[in-house]
Symmetry: C2
Subunit: 272 residues, 2 copies
DNA sequence: CTAATAGTGTCTATTAGACAGTATGTT
DNA sequence: AACATACTGTCTAATAGACACTATTAG
């Protein structure tokens, strides 16, 4: 059939001409929180944490997953994760970036659903926002080993353990395939999504200022270093660390005392 | 309604419960090709090039776009760009990575279509593969300036010029919004997709070995440097360049002569 | 010989790693 | 006083930038 103009074509267009499917967006909400400490003098250790939601309905009933939901036809793609996160946590205007689009045919047992995952970051003050009763914060422990990695998520009374096998699939850019070889409690492909997010964050902290989205307005350099360390999974040397971040932060006239030791100057993120 | 098991739930599941839309994948196929030179002694200059396809039907009839097509319900997401590229170019087993998912509500005038863009790279030998008659290689000239960037795509008898306004939308990770302020010949949001791909490639060449996907098996270090230069849009110093790539390449016993000057040793990519 | 690129040597400047040393709060 | 962290100084090692120099071919 021939059309004389785009308008004419669009008027007679049949939207069922091509396969149709549903899309969702899933949100990895990461933060770094303080572990309780028994020694009043020691500064509290830090852990990464992630918000998970317990599924109330099939499929994967009673398992844990990352917050997510269906994209509406009249909703901009990036608005979808924002809306869902606001529904679950009451958080607005927080850092968010598109992570990856997962589209395996069998990733959802109901039907074909492609999902675009987003990564969101908040600082530990935002952590106190009221969250949906089905949602819970889990501490993350992510250790890489020779054959893959182990992901352990813990909450007060829940412990989720996932074994991941990493296979190098592309040598020039070091791209890995993650196969989940043990997982009883995480729904869909969300274990893979979480691992993808953790690795992205670990990479990006090295060459961007992304970490400041996980920091409160005022922070000490000691805290900042601890956040780097917990995300990178390794310890850093203080003088080298301070040299590198020196031009990203700005000294303030505020001071944080109270620990049984020399008080620390509070810094701010410098936007230059 | 209550279900006793996941099977029972799935049996009565109605796939129309949520909004349904179509998905496409678009492929940025980049390469670096030689410009013709009149001086027999000078080595040929290089340019980046991209494969575009002329649209034969509405919408955007007669405009140029990146190769793409609809995702089938039973097709893995990454298989879709591979299939489409094979249809258009007869290329198989080439480097491809997921770039970004574009999902603006109005990006396609027909209906809601979300598209996942992939970036593919080939070396200049693959460039000679037979391509679909609607497809054509365009040379890329991409210059950034204070307020944005200019993208000029040229082929034998076609010249496409796009003005892009870049606005910093996120300071910690230097994320920009690209607004196309002048474009008469590129369909859909593909100008934005191309710019996103160019910037991704420019970033990734710095911290990965991605460039070797654009090189033939044997190459001289001079050629390799020229490819870096054309992608980065700046000149590099030879000794520094050679130091940096020294442990990524492997000397062979082959030699390339024929230019009116000292012949050059051919190298291979070293996978370590 | 000449134009043009190939390839090396080296000096300097900058950045990163390591560790020692000093400073100062709370209990 | 002592613990624990805050913060600085400095020596060394590694990496990056700049430029000068030598080598080698086709015509």
């Amino acid at each position: 059939m021939e059309y004389r103009s785009e308008e004419e074509f669009l008027k007679s267009y049949n939207p069922n001409e091509y396969d149709r499917l549903s899309m969702t967006t899933d949100i990895l909400l990461f933060s770094v929180s303080d572990l309780l400490q028994n020694n009043y003098r020691k500064t509290s250790e830090k852990v990464m944490s992630i918000l998970l939601v317990k599924r109330e309905t099939y499929p994967f009933k009673d398992m844990w997953c990352v917050p997510g939901g269906f994209l509406k036809l009249d909703e901009e793609l990036e608005e979808c994760p924002k809306r869902i996160l606001a529904e679950e946590t009451n958080l607005h205007n927080i850092y968010m970036e598109q992570l990856y689009t997962f589209g395996a045919v069998k990733r959802d047992p109901r039907m074909r659903i492609v999902s675009t995952a987003y990564m969101a970051l908040i600082d530990k003050n935002d952590l106190k926002e009221e969250i949906n009763s089905r949602a819970k914060w889990f501490n993350i422990q992510y250790d890489e080993n020779k054959s893959g990695a182990q992901l352990v998520l813990t909450s007060d009374d829940d412990r989720i353990e996932v074994q991941v096998k990493k296979t190098l699939v592309e040598k020039t850019t070091n791209r890995y395939k993650y196969e989940i070889i043990k997982n009883d409690s995480i729904a869909f492909d969300h274990a893979e999504v979480i691992v993808t997010g953790l690795e992205r964050l670990r990479n990006k902290i090295e060459y961007t200022d992304i970490v400041f989205n996980m920091m409160p307005e005022y922070f000490t350099l000691g805290e900042l270093q601890k956040v780097y360390e917990v995300i990178l999974g390794k310890e850093l040397l203080m003088p080298a660390f301070r040299r590198v971040i020196a031009d990203k932060v700005e000294k303030t006239d505020k001071i944080q005392g109270g620990g049984g030791h020399r008080p620390s100057v509070l810094f701010k993120y410098k936007k230059k």
